[in-house]
Amino acid sequence: MEFYFGLAQTIGIHTLLGLSAYIILLTGQMSLAQAAFYAIGAYVSGMLTVLWGWHIVPAMFAGAALGAAAAAAVGFPALRVKGLMLVIATLAFGEGVRLFFFNFDYQVQKGNIKVGPLGGEGFRQIRYFPENGWTSDEVMLFVWVFVILVMAMIWWFDRSRYGSVLRAVGDDELAAQSVGINLTAVKVSAMAIGGAVAGLAGSLYAHYTTHIEHLAFGVLQSVFAIAYPIIGGLASVFGTLAAVIFVQGFLVEGLRFLGDWRNLLFGLLIIVAMVVRPNGFLDGQMLRNFKRWFGIRSRNA
């Protein structure tokens, strides 16, 4: 049972990570810095609960807020550059943040041990859940409450005018400007929301694993983050969820007997997925088919 709880938590956290990239991708931007916002959320919330004894919920919101601030800070200069330049800028930012945590020491004596981030050693003993007597099913429930909340929020965004504006910018920036849409506001806000969601995911991750280190926040993690929505398709948040379940549930856990060769499959899967379905699994057409099968009518019909 523990195993499935663990898997469910991983799926939940990765869904959040994927959604953080999803909302940015809607505006046609590709960010390879999601792991950085994830790291910021993890370290900040971990330090707040471990070093300063905060309750987990405010600590998570602080992590999310800082993730959002960092994302907005990247978003502003990156707005001057377009498309592929943003990919590189965010990639470099992500590596910069990872290296920052690689060099980051802040230890405090607590009882008979020292706690806090210690450079390459990482940040151990983030034991908020065990110390407060949370059982593993409670932790899983806690994680999924946030996953469902965030998913519902982004799903709602997607149906609201804001979602259409994001997609309009993603479709054609020039035309979007020409109907009076403020590109800066839209792009930076999407980055900030993405940063907040990634920060939230990071704070859940830190408390669930209890030990974080810079290696967990490398480029690969960012690639995972954008791979979920791109493989899953940008038509709906459920595409991201489906991709996470497929990758984490089937590829990583289901094929455990393959050992190290699974990592190889991930790269291969991305390539095959892009060749077979360049718009992702759940693209616009697929979504309409689903709606027709289940008799869901669109809102304005």
Partner: protein, 292 residues
């Protein structure tokens, strides 16, 4: 003070490798407006294939390894083009970028499986040779790195600016549709660009491995990031920019290392990139904004 100049000098010599990788990224961008994220990984892969095939031929000389890597690089470049660009609609930005990211991971994993994760010894070119000028010295192998890179860059520039193929490449880079209407086969030019950059990458991969002394999977990540930084600093699509930016990054990297140590070095390189993004987003040789 001499230490400092020495650091800059070594950095610039090593920076020529960054230039080579940067040229590879920038050429593909110039011609196709795409980034081939798998480029650096494929280059290291080519260096590995070069190493293996040279030892299969029982010829462990560094130069044979270089030759084999060069050929392997061209073949890998072609494969990457075929899989990641030829099979996927080019209009779809996300898909083409993502497929090269997939290729990066795949190449990474293939190398790590082939080498079982352990660093492989790589033959050095001029082992233990030092050139001395008074207080200064230059590591022989770095001089070779520099020399080979300069020769490759010169060959590439000749190819681009003195041959019909180069003319076609530049034409496609500037006006793909017009070039197509003039009867140029854009797909062919694209393929050739990948093969040429692949060859460059193979050489760069072999050079970096021989300069470091070993081939390891740990090289691909930093090389990808550095190569991309060089590309941005030089200006996307600008070959001269990539050359200068490679030397700049190589030199400054060693300066940062000199003053702040190896663990913090790369952090400052990232800051350098951000400084460029904010103050000169078009790169070193940016011109004014053109039409559209």
């Amino acid at each position: 003070m001499f230490d400092f100049i020495q650091a800059v000098l070594d950095g610039i010599l090593f920076g020529t490798i960054y230039s080579l990788i940067g040229i590879g990224f920038t050429l593909v961008f110039g011609v196709m407006h795409k980034i081939n994220m798998a480029y650096a990984a494929a280059s290291i892969g080519a260096a590995y294939i070069g190493l293996v095939s040279a030892s299969a031929m029982k010829a462990a000389s560094a130069w044979v390894v270089f030759g084999c890597s060069l050929v392997a690089g061209g073949v890998l470049g072609f494969l990457v083009y075929l899989i990641c660009f030829h099979l996927i609609p080019l209009r779809n930005e996300n898909a083409t970028l993502m497929s090269t990211v997939g290729m990066l991971l795949l190449a990474d994993e293939l190398i790590s499986h082939a080498t079982t994760g352990a660093p492989q010894n790589y033959p050095a070119t001029l082992e233990d040779v030092m050139f001395r000028f008074g207080e200064m010295s230059m590591r022989g192998d770095l001089v070779v790195v520099f020399g080979v890179s300069v020769v490759c860059t010169a060959a590439l520039l000749l190819l681009l600016y003195r041959t019909r193929l180069g003319l076609a490449t530049r034409a496609v880079a500037q006006q793909p549709i017009a070039a197509q209407l003039c009867g140029m086969r854009v797909a062919q030019v694209n393929t050739l660009t990948f093969v040429i950059t692949g060859v460059l990458g193979g050489i760069a991969g072999a050079l970096i491995c021989s300069a470091v002394g070993s081939l390891s999977i740990l090289l691909t990540g930093p090389l990808t990031v550095k190569g991309l930084i060089v590309t941005v600093i030089g200006g996307l699509g600008s070959v001269p920019g990539a050359i200068v930016a490679g030397l700049l990054v190589g030199g400054l990297e060693n300066v940062f290392q000199h003053f702040r140590g190896v663990t913090e070095r790369d952090m400052y390189v990232m800051l350098l990139l951000f400084a460029f993004l904010i103050f000169r987003p078009g790169g070193i040789f940016a011109k004014g904004q053109g039409r559209d």
